[in-house]
Each structure stands twice: as structure tokens, then as C-alpha cells.
Symmetry: C2
Subunit: 213 residues, 2 copies
């Protein structure tokens, strides 16, 4: 009945352990914030001795940095959909879907990101000033094009983007509040669908991309 465990190669060990650590770290950083998180807690959750964490990540900050970078990467990737969409209904609709799905599947990541930005982005400020600025300008141009083509109302693209970020991430960052208001229960499948639908309907109607009911 014993599980025959084949010895792992060194590469596999490294990959496996880094993954364990990063997953545990994301959760703990999300729950407790950078200051409240302890290496011991992360180690326990990862099922490794604390000293082993410091073998892979020399300092708490270096571990945190890796977590945040990963999240930032996913954050940007979620918007690929935006690019080749013919108009706002498809582009923004799909973007809302994608970001809502991230909020649902990876709430911890969203929280770490929110925390990082709230604390004035001590570790990813350089990314904000370069990558995020470029990214934002690119999407603003797309939205402006849709406006020029008469596919939506002339709203300020910048504030529309902020609204998209705010509304979608809210379901992760304030998930606890939402659960409490849902009778201390997590949203069901259909409730998530309703949430997505509400956000899409109000925003797409709000920018004149679909007719008002």
C-alpha cells in the first residue's frame, strides 16, 4: 500500500519547491499583508522548514517581489483579449469576463496586488512607470478609436479603464465583505454569472455600446 515515490531530479525539486513556496507566500501575503506575514507561516503552509525558504529566496522581500511580479504579469496578460476585438461589446465584454474570472479564481493574487499599490508600490513602482503606462496608453487609444468610429459614447477612456479595474477587482479584494452580505456564503456559480452580467450590462449600457433596456 505504500506510495512508491520516485526520487525527483534536482531540477524538479527546485521547480516543485519554488512553486510550493510561491503559492503559500501568495496566500499568506494576501491574508496578512507584507508586514503581517511571517516566513514561518509561509514555511508551515508550504510544508517546508523555514531555513529551506531562505535557501530559495534569500530574503522575505525577494520572495514578495517574485510574488508581485507574477501577479503583475497575469494582470497584463488578461487584457490580450482587448486587442483584436472589433468593438467595445466584444472587447470590453471579454475583458470584464476575464478579470471577473481572475477575481474568482485567484483572489489572493488580486489582494496582494491591491496591497502593494495601496502602500505606494514599494517594489514594483518601476513597472508601473514603464510597462503599465505604456499598456494603459495602448488601450486608451483603442477605446478612443471605438469612440471615433461611433461604436460608443465619447467617455474619457482613462476613467473607463479605472472603472473596469475597480469593479472587477472589487469582487476579489472585497470578497469577504461580499460574502458577509451574502449571508456568510461564497457566491454560487449563478451568483457569479449574475455579477458578471450586472457589471457588463451597466458598463456597456453606460458607454452607449448597447441600447438601454
Amino acid at each position: 500500500m505504500t506510495q512508491e515515490t520516485r526520487p525527483l531530479s534536482k531540477k524538479d525539486i527546485r521547480r516543485e519547491n519554488e512553486k510550493l513556496i510561491l503559492e503559500a507566500a501568495e496566500k499568506v501575503f494576501a491574508e496578512a499583508g507584507f508586514g503581517g506575514a511571517t516566513m514561518q507561516l509561509i514555511a508551515d503552509l508550504a510544508g517546508l522548514p523555514k531555513a529551506n525558504l531562505h535557501y530559495y529566496f534569500p530574503t522575505k522581500e525577494s520572495l514578495y517581489r517574485r510574488v508581485v511580479q507574477t501577479i503583475f504579469h497575469d494582470w497584463l496578460k488578461a487584457a490580450d483579449i482587448f486587442d483584436n476585438a472589433p468593438g467595445p461589446v466584444e472587447g470590453i465584454g471579454a475583458y470584464i469576463d476575464a478579470k471577473m474570472e481572475i477575481s474568482r479564481r485567484h483572489p489572493a493574487g488580486s489582494k496582494v496586488w491591491a496591497s502593494e499599490v495601496m502602500h505606494r508600490a514599494p517594489v514594483i513602482q518601476d513597472y508601473l512607470e514603464t510597462t503599465l503606462v505604456e499598456w494603459t496608453e495602448g488601450r486608451m487609444a483603442i477605446i478612443q478609436r471605438w469612440i471615433d468610429e461611433g461604436k460608443m459614447n465619447p467617455v474619457d477612456p482613462r476613467h473607463l479603464l479605472y472603472m473596469l479595474w475597480a469593479t472587477t477587482q472589487h469582487y476579489a479584494d472585497f470578497g469577504h465583505q461580499i460574502e458577509t452580505l451574502n449571508g456568510n456564503a461564497p457566491l454560487s456559480d449563478s451568483q457569479w454569472e449574475a455579477a458578471k452580467g450586472s457589471v457588463k450590462t451597466i458598463i456597456l449600457t453606460g458607454i452607449g455600446a448597447i441600447p438601454s433596456a
Copy 2:
């Protein structure tokens, strides 16, 4: 040339010092989170010795609790406007204005609140389950009435409220990101007006309270 300082009464001293401490604490908790904040930092910012903080607030947690309670109170108060409004344009419009103003004037408070909720509301969970639940149901009823009266589209009142919270608080909680995207400059008066206008236009249009442009 010496400034003649009249001796303060004991009551004044207490009031004055508590105020100093609470203001400093709000800032430090907002910047660093509960775990990252230190009593020494708060003391320095308040201009008092650390031991004096412990005279007024026995523990770090008790100080934090007071900060969060104050914020929760303001949070609820912002929605009085909602109540006697004849319809969504006035009610929701004024609510957006009020919450945007809070985000502008008291970003630290908003951040502390966000942090508290993100960390599963360790100190105000009871308030969420009682006061906030009641409050939310009351506003949902008002929105539903407006819907029944044909003053707006039949959107889900719950998700509309979430959207209002998300969009307005975003300007405080993610203020740093917004500043970075604004060329590392805080929003000017006119930019704040533009932000308010965008949020109101999109949401009020989105719920069919005002016609699409």
C-alpha cells in the same frame, strides 16, 4: 518673543492628544498596514513618546480598532444623502459625489478600511454582519423602489451598490497608481471633476436614469 502658552485643561489635553494619535495612526496604518505599522512610527508622527500612546490606548489593537470604527462611521454617514432623494439621478449622483469627496479628502481612511476588509475584517466583522447588512438592505429597497417606479432600468441593486463602492473608493485605494498614470502628479481640481463626471455619467447612463449621449 516667547509664545505665551496657556495651560490646557485635563479634558483638553486628553481630547487633543487622542486626536493627534488617531490622525497619526490612520496615516501609518494606511501606509504600512496593521502588521507593518509600529507604535514608534505613530508616536513619532504624533510628536509624542511611545509610552504616552500606551497611556491612551493600551494596545496597538485597541488603537487600530478605534481608527477603523471611526472610518466605518464616516462610511455609513456618507449615504444619508441617498435616503430622501426623489430618484436615482439625485440620490445616486449625490452619493457618488460624496464618496468621491471622501476618497479625495481622506484617502488614508479608505485605505485602512480596504485593508481591514481584505484581511477578513478581524476587528469589525460584527459590524459588517449587523450594521452593514441592515444598511445595505435599506438602500437596496430604495433602489428597487426606483426601479418599480420606472425611474431606472431593472438592474440588480446589490451589484449596483458594489459598483458604486468599487469605483469611488478606487480613487483613494489605488490613488498611487492613478497618480503614476497621471505623470506622477496628483489629480488637479479639474481632473477630479472630470473623474466624478465620468463615473456619474457612465453609471447613471448604465442604469437608464439619464439618456445615452
